[in-house]
């Protein structure tokens, strides 16, 4: 263990922090030092304790032991409000903002420009617009935040924190739902803030980004500090070893090459499928043993395509067939009945049922599919849950834990397990690796391939183009809520996707949609 010892430059000092949730020791005597003007990556596997450390620092969770010093003075904020007052601004991982309030209100909540006790609405909107403009966003700030996509919501949360950060800015997985362009903008702003002497804590599972932006790295594992290093002097493999405590199994990078192409049976096909104002009619064929990737910018209509395919949204016309038989997909139940599965991108609101246990969350879809009268015996449930907890390495490996208490990445694994348990023929995954650590990331990609080899049809959405090209057999590119291009075989590579996205007015679409 090595810690920084230059007291002059250290802005935020955390010493000997411990935190337990009942029997779970989320943090044990963790030290952490943030210097003024540096960008410091906080890394670790899912459940390592990153988010907990952040919440302890900002006083959301009371700590069991340890001290926090800000600029040399000991601080013990009792609430997020107090932390803000002390100059620590945070974007938390899961809960972002308030969807029922306008974008402007979200940005200026509890610090609106006032005159005579009255909020200056116009002034607030003007400032909100200016603030978001820095992030390349030109949207109606008077509209409720909930009307916008996750990405925009995330950018808004970041913009708020950036605007608030007096001394320390903490970003817990800010880039999980952003695409490259937005990440670039964010990094630009982070560098600018660091230049002004603000210390930035950056949590991410994207190691490329970590190497691109951070000055130093602190790694946690199982709630303990593993070490602190200069980014420049830490080889990537060493970093992974620090995080996992073991070597990462090699993953082959291209899939198309390793698999022979042969005509496969069609699992499901969609003709002239679409919905007015939602996504333009498209044709799509999904085959057994094949991964189809959906690529596109944020807001290009990938999620919409996925929801139509699964039956979460009704089509205006067109025809769907499963195994060649025409079917009607009116509701998710229909989708489930035909052997489809769907992991939504909004894990918290559309995926997990926080209060229920890991076991119950896993068996839910299977039970819904079997119907009321054929309840899974408790023994079967336990067995299914145990199997997937082991298979996906869900941590902590306690099937009776409420899923809401798991770390974000582990919640994602539970959702995946929910659908795998139904032995689906078609699985639709919307951003399945978002917020997942390197180890689990590799695991999920391996799983996607395995499922594919077992004859499953997969439709996968990912903003990670590098990732999507490694496992897709075909890639459908979307732009402006329409399917514009399909790439297959040799044509699958990042450059081609980017070219398809950018073709005539792609950039215009990005800027102009407000």
């Amino acid at each position: 263990m090595e810690t920084s010892s230059d007291p002059v430059a250290s802005l935020l000092e955390v010493r000997g922090i411990s935190k337990s949730f009942g029997a779970v020791r989320a943090l044990q005597e963790v030290d952490f030092t943030l210097r003024a003007g540096e960008i410091h990556a906080l890394l670790g596997e899912n459940g390592a304790g990153k988010s907990t450390l952040i919440k302890v620092i900002t006083g959301v969770f009371p700590r069991d032991a340890g001290i926090v010093r800000l600029g040399g003075d000991e601080v013990a904020p009792r609430s997020a409000k107090a932390a803000l007052k002390a100059g620590i601004a945070t974007v938390y991982q899961e809960v972002n903002l308030l969807p029922n309030l306008s974008v402007a209100q979200n940005l200026f909540l509890d610090r609106q420009p006032m005159r005579f006790g009255i909020v200056r609405e116009g002034e607030m909107r003007r400032r909100a617009k200016a603030l978001l403009a820095d992030f390349g966003l030109d949207i109606d700030v008077a509209a409720p935040l909930g009307n916008y996509s996750v990405a925009i919501q995330h950018v808004t949360a970041i913009a708020r924190a950036v605007d608030l950060s007096a001394r320390v800015l903490i970003l817990d997985e800010p880039t999980a739902s952003l695409d490259r362009h937005e990440v670039e903008i964010l990094f630009g702003i982070m560098r600018q803030l660091a230049g002004r002497g603000i210390g930035i804590v950056f949590v991410s599972h994207f190691l490329d980004q970590v190497y691109e932006i951070s000055d130093r790295i602190t790694v946690l594992r199982n709630g303990r500090l593993v070490g602190e290093r200069e980014t420049a002097s830490l080889p990537r493999l060493d970093l992974i070893r620090m995080m996992l405590g073991r070597e990462l199994a090699e993953t082959t990078s291209t899939r198309a090459a390793t698999r022979e192409h042969q005509a496969r049976d069609v699992c499901a096909s969609f003709e002239k499928y679409g919905k007015v104002g939602y996504v333009a009619p498209f044709n799509l064929e999904l085959r057994h043993g094949e991964v189809v990737g959906l690529a596109g910018l944020l807001g290009s209509g990938r999620t919409e395509t996925a929801r139509l395919v699964f039956g979460a949204e009704r089509t205006d016309g067109g025809q769907a067939s499963v195994e060649g038989v025409p079917v009607r997909l009116q509701s998710p139940r229909d989708g489930v009945r035909h052997g489809f599965g769907y992991c939504p991108e909004e894990r918290k609101t559309e995926g997990i049922i926080a209060e229920l246990s890991v076991r119950e969350n896993i068996v839910l879809a299977l039970q819904a599919k079997r119907g009321l009268h054929r309840p899974l015996a408790r023994r079967e449930q336990d067995e299914i849950a145990r199997r997937y907890v082991r298979m996906l390495d869900i941590r902590p490996p306690d099937p009776e834990r409420p899923v809401g208490l798991l770390s974000g990445g582990n919640q994602q694994k539970v959702l995946l397990a929910r659908w795998l348990a139904t032995s689906p023929r078609l699985l639709v995954l919307d951003e399945p690796t978002r917020g997942i650590d390197v180890g689990a990331h590799a695991e999920i990609i391996r799983l996607i391939r395995e499922l594919c080899d077992d004859g499953l049809a997969l439709l996968v959405i990912s903003s990670e183009l590098d990732e999507i090209v490694t496992y897709s057999d075909r890639i459908v590119v979307l732009r402006d809520r329409a399917h514009v291009e399909e790439l297959a075989g040799e044509a699958i590579d990042v450059t081609n996707i980017l070219a398809a996205i950018a073709a005539d007015g792609g950039a215009a679409a990005r800027e102009g949609r407000a």
């Binding site: 489930v336 609101t349 926080a354 209060e355 054929r374």
Partner: protein, 330 residues
């Protein structure tokens, strides 16, 4: 035992014991039991017997609340089913009387469920409609009178005994077991909890959330109807004006005392019934105490708050902290 009453039932059991002890203090003969005409007789039996309507209501209510709903109409449904049962009792056999009364409850539940699940109304207003109109319907049936009957079958339902236990108590016990068997024996329980925990996510997992919501309101209607029949059988008459009046609040209270959150999700049938018993133990204690009735509500308010505080994890946390503080000072 621990399987039946989960650890979270501890606070409720403790509360019940404390209230029973207080009852024993205000009324020394509280625990006396004797056999009277083949029927157990004593204050404890009164608690069970008088607690029956609310216990039955809470059996339906707890499921409704588990889906994030609420059913304000149960009192009115009691009045309707009681009125129907009383009007038919002297001219028809018990099976027909029961079928008609419970059928009416079922229809009421269906109506509530339709408004909530299909029309998407907010449960509190959706059921407020039937709360208001339903009592009117009941009064329409009785024309505002107390319709009396003498059919021995129906009277037995209110005043008879099975193995010394009052029939209503046996019925409530039977309903608890039946509901438990249906809900926990099938996947209903899980799917209801999922629906209440996160309806959108459950829907996407293929759960028929509408059907779940419809089902719980129907069940609540049936339970309320049964409670109404029993209430009518008890006084050998249907009092549409007063039967079940304000009992919806008691039922909700019972459910919450039983540890089920008004925000839906996890529920416990046994503890909801326990909640009903706690309320009735308190009520009976008040009646036995001999205090002037002006104090009734104050006592009730105090007990409710105390029971809730006992359950609040924050409270035990604070209490623990206070203890530790005192410890360090000493």
């Amino acid at each position: 035992m621990t399987a039946l009453l989960p650890r979270r039932g501890l606070a409720q059991i403790l509360a019940l014991i404390v209230i029973l002890a207080v009852d024993r203090i205000v009324s020394p003969q509280f625990f006396d039991l004797r056999l009277q005409d083949g029927r157990l007789f004593g204050s404890l039996i009164d608690v069970l017997n008088r607690g029956t309507p609310v216990a039955l209501l809470s059996l339906g209510m707890v499921l409704v609340i588990a889906t994030r709903g609420i059913d304000l109409s149960v009192g009115a449904i009691m009045a309707i089913s009681g009125a129907i049962a009383a009007s038919l009792a002297d001219s028809h056999g018990l099976p027909i009387v029961l079928a008609a009364a419970l059928g009416a409850g079922l229809m009421c539940g269906l109506w509530n469920g339709f408004l909530v699940a299909v029309l998407g109304m907010q449960p509190i207003v959706a059921t407020l409609i039937l709360m208001v109109a339903g009592r009117g319907i009941a009064q329409l049936i009785t024309e505002g009178r107390i319709v009396t009957f003498s059919s021995p079958d129906l009277v037995w339902l209110g005043n008879g005994a099975i193995l010394g236990l009052p029939v209503p108590v046996a019925i409530a016990l039977g309903m608890l077991i039946l509901t438990g068997a249906v809900v926990r024996g099938s996947a209903l329980g899980l799917l209801i909890e999922a629906t209440g925990g996160n309806a959108r996510a459950s829907e996407l997992a293929g759960v028929g959330t509408r059907a779940m919501i419809l089902a719980v309101y129907v069940w609540s209607g049936v339970c309320a109807a049964l409670a109404g029949v029993i209430a009518a059988a008890d006084i050998m008459g249907a009092d549409a004006n007063n039967a079940g009046l304000w009992l919806e609040l008691d039922a909700i209270l019972a459910v919450v005392i039983g540890g089920t959150s008004l925000f839906g999700g996890r529920f416990s049938l046994v503890l909801a019934v326990f909640g009903a018993l706690i309320i009735q133990t308190m009520n009976t204690g008040i009646l036995l105490s001999g205090y002037p009735p002006e104090f009734n509500l104050l006592v009730k308010a105090g007990v409710v708050l105390a029971v809730l505080l006992l359950q609040s994890p924050k409270f035990s946390g604070l209490a623990g902290m206070a203890m530790r503080l005192r410890g360090t000072k000493a």
